[in-house]
Structures are given as structure tokens and as C-alpha cells.
Symmetry: C2
DNA sequence: AAGTGGTCTAGACCACTAT
DNA sequence: TAGTGGTCTAGACCACTTA
């Protein structure tokens, strides 16, 4: 009965009833010293087990109070193929962080097909769920596109769709490319989202094209526990010819 | 200079040169005892710092040898909108795990719109990168659809596209819905992928429809470090009318 | 044989919460 | 005031890699 590390064994004992629903969300777990006594292990072991469950997202630590079974997070589905509506965090309540001009850095410059240091508008907003931020949308757009018009992101009603705004400026967006991945949360984002840096987050790098020219690109960074992406794809037209 | 936990401070010291590229991938980091001495902290602190970097995916621990800057993993982009080719792990080398009939369980039954216990074909394959598995594709399809024909997954050449195979059986797939999310790796998958259970993985739940009827559904489970999803969407047609 | 990472023990202090 | 989680110290043994 040994082979496995003891902390994994303790974690298993707690994980089972949580996943089975025998422990209601919000239930307080035994404290780390209590666990150490009942399973006859050192406190470091119970600590390690509890931190493992926290890292798995099953348990929440409230310092000074205890460990609690996490409430099942509300899952939000981001429909990525309905382009009728607007901002980047669509099913969620939006909290705007404003627009500023910026000199564009390496990766974003490449995505926009512009030189390093080119001026861009950067627009950010948070997606809120139950008052807590769960997604961050950051959009970059060459300032040259709309500078001097009333169609800049700063001049427009927050939440206006890029498609509508740029169409009004005479730029027709006809193609979108999205790259979806997961990476650890980094610093400017983590404080905005009130999540620990290093936590894995879902990332959608989206670029809007007008013909061959990229005209806007954005990052959607979303909590892995709250966010799903939904793609509805139609194959109505005849299958494409093999290239 | 204190406020912050010491282990975070030590981790920062190591993270900076790794992200800047000053420490080449493959470089060995100072051992935990060495780190403890140079920064004048206890070994538990250096240990904590190093484990943090491991959890962030920046560093790899080789027991008995040391901590190493992780080689940049090869990233594979799964194009989810090119339907010309076949299997579920497309840009990767495929390793087939065969087809078996099964009684379908809860969630998958719902996705297929069939009763619990209905017979389905379950087909699995691994996607390999440099000889190591990085993605697992599991597809379910009601046995009733093709039973008795030569168009069952078991009778067809492995890697045949579902669209082609079912089209040959008279079932025209005209719609695809994909739901993308992240969840901890579970047991049957973790041993097939040789990854630790609990590790976050990218999951694509895809369902193929023939009109309103779901005819095939599958899970693509991929290592977060190696897998990206690529969606190329055309907005060529006039924007849809608001519903 | 020496060094390393993984695990473990047995203590400790602090800021915070609950009562 | 007692209990809690977060952090920290100073040791230890084991299996493994490296030389």
C-alpha cells in the first residue's frame, strides 16, 4: 500500500467524494493539521495534498478560514462564429478599460504586418461573470487606418463591432483567422483578472483581414474554468477541391 | 525588499534569463542546494521556486540529474477548417488504436442524441510528434448508421475522413460544431499520452451533423504545450441579419 | 562515490478569520 | 483568543544519474 507518495494518497481520499458530489460545493474540508492527525502523516504531507487539489481547481483556500470545496464555476460559451454583435467578450458583461495609442511590439507587429514601433490603438476590456473578471480582451489596430476620422476605437461607442466600425471607415473585413492555445498567465494580465500568474489560461489570437491585409488583431485571454469556445461551421457548399 | 515570499523572488531571478533567452534551452540550472546557498535561503524555498517554474512549463526536472531549461516544444497547428483530409490528428503522424463497439455513456449519448446504452463504434488514434504522443482522438458513431455495410470505421482504411466514409454510406454531413475547452487530464487518456493525470489539456468536442441529426462526435485531447487550433473563417457573404 | 530531485518529518512565525 | 493557511527552517532517506 506504499509505492505511491503519501500526499497523493491523501489527495485521492479527498478527491473522490468531491467528484462524486458527496461533498457539496462550499463545504469546508478538514484543516491541514486535522488531516495530518487523521491520516497519521506530517503536516507537510497534508499541505501538499491540499495544494494539489487547489491546483486541480477542485478546492479553494481561504487564508485564516480553511479549505473549501469549490463552487462549480459557471461556464460561458463564447460563440466565435456569430459575427453580428460586438465586443470581444460577448456573452459576458463588459467592463471597458479604454483605448490608448502605443508603439507596437514584436509578435503583434508581425500579426498586423507592420514595422516594429508603428503606432497602434490598443483597446482592452474585461468580461465579468458574477462580478468577477474571467476574460480579458486586448485588441490592436494600426492607428493609420482610422486616424483623424471619427471611427477610431477611442471615438466609437465601446463595444462596437470591429466589422461595423471599420466598414464605416471604408475597410471591409472579409476574413478571420483564429489561433487557439493555452499558456501560463503573465503579469499584466494576471492582476487585471485577479488570477495567479502561471495559471494556465485559454488564449484566442484573432486577426481580421481585409483581403490579404491584416487590419486588426486581438488576444482573448480567458480563465480555463469559466470559458469555452464554440465554433459552428457549415459544410453546406460542396467539399473543397483537394489542393 | 521583503513583502513578497522569498520563493517568488528566487523564481523571478531564474525566470528572467530564461524568457530573455539568455539561458539556452537544455541548460542545466543550479541544483536546489546550490540555489539555497547562493541566495541564502532554505532548501525548501529553492525547491518551491523550482517547482513553480516547472509548473509554469519553463523548466523540466530530471530526477537524479538536475533542473533544465525546457527545450522549446514543437508546436503543431491543427487546422479545424480544412476538411479535405482525414483522421482527427491531422498534421501529426497517426498511430491507430483500432475500433471497438461499445455501449455509449451519458455525455456522449447526449451529444449523439441517442439513448443511454445504445451501441456505438469507438475509434481511437494517437497523434505522434518526434515519436512521442501529444494528442488523442476518440470518435464515437452510432453502430446503427453503417452496421452491415463495408463503411463502418472498422472496415475502412484507418485515417479515412468521416465525411467521405459516411457520404459513401449515403449520409451527407453538412454541419460541424466544435466546443473548445481545457480540463485536467483523466486516467484512460493519461496513460495513452504518457502525461501526468491532472495536467491541463486542450479538448475539442466536435460533432458532425447531417441536417439536424448528429451522426458522429469526437474528442480531441491534446497536450497544451504542443497543440494549437487554427480556424480560418470566411466572412465573404454579407453579414448575417441579426436574429 | 558523489550529487540530484522527490518525498518526508518536526518544528516555527505571521497575518488573517471566526467566535 | 484560538484556529487557519502561507511561508519558512533544518534536518533526513531513497532511487536515480553522472562521473
Amino acid at each position: 500500500m506504499d509505492g505511491r507518495p503519501r500526499y497523493l494518497w491523501v489527495a485521492d481520499r479527498l478527491r473522490r467524494p468531491i467528484l462524486n458530489g458527496e461533498l457539496e460545493p462550499g463545504t469546508r474540508l478538514p484543516s491541514r493539521s486535522r488531516l495530518a492527525r487523521t491520516y497519521d502523516v506530517s503536516e507537510q504531507v497534508s499541505r501538499h495534498a491540499l495544494r494539489l487539489l487547489v491546483s486541480e481547481g477542485l478546492v479553494e483556500a481561504r487564508p485564516g478560514s480553511g479549505y473549501y470545496v469549490r463552487p462549480v464555476p459557471q461556464i460561458h460559451r463564447f460563440s466565435r462564429t456569430d459575427r453580428t454583435s460586438g465586443s470581444g467578450v460577448d456573452p459576458l458583461e463588459r467592463s471597458d478599460l479604454g483605448t490608448q495609442t502605443d508603439a507596437v511590439c514584436g509578435a503583434v507587429a508581425r500579426r498586423l504586418g507592420v514595422r516594429d514601433g508603428e503606432r497602434v490603438f490598443r483597446t482592452r476590456c474585461l468580461g465579468m461573470s458574477d462580478g468577477a473578471p474571467v476574460a480579458l480582451h486586448t485588441a490592436w489596430e494600426p492607428a493609420a487606418l482610422t486616424q483623424g476620422t471619427l471611427r477610431t476605437p477611442a471615438d466609437s461607442e465601446p463595444g462596437t463591432s470591429v466589422l461595423q466600425r471599420l466598414a464605416a471607415a471604408g475597410v471591409i473585413i472579409d476574413r478571420v483567422v483564429e489561433e487557439v492555445g493555452v499558456r501560463p498567465l503573465r503579469e499584466p494580465e494576471s492582476s487585471l483578472l485577479h488570477l495567479a500568474p502561471g495559471l494556465p489560461v485559454l488564449v484566442v489570437e484573432r486577426t481580421h483581414y481585409s483581403g490579404r491585409r491584416p487590419v486588426e488583431t486581438s488576444d482573448l485571454v480567458g480563465s480555463v474554468d469559466h470559458c469555452r469556445l464554440l465554433y459552428r461551421l457549415s459544410l453546406a457548399r460542396a467539399p473543397r477541391k483537394p489542393r
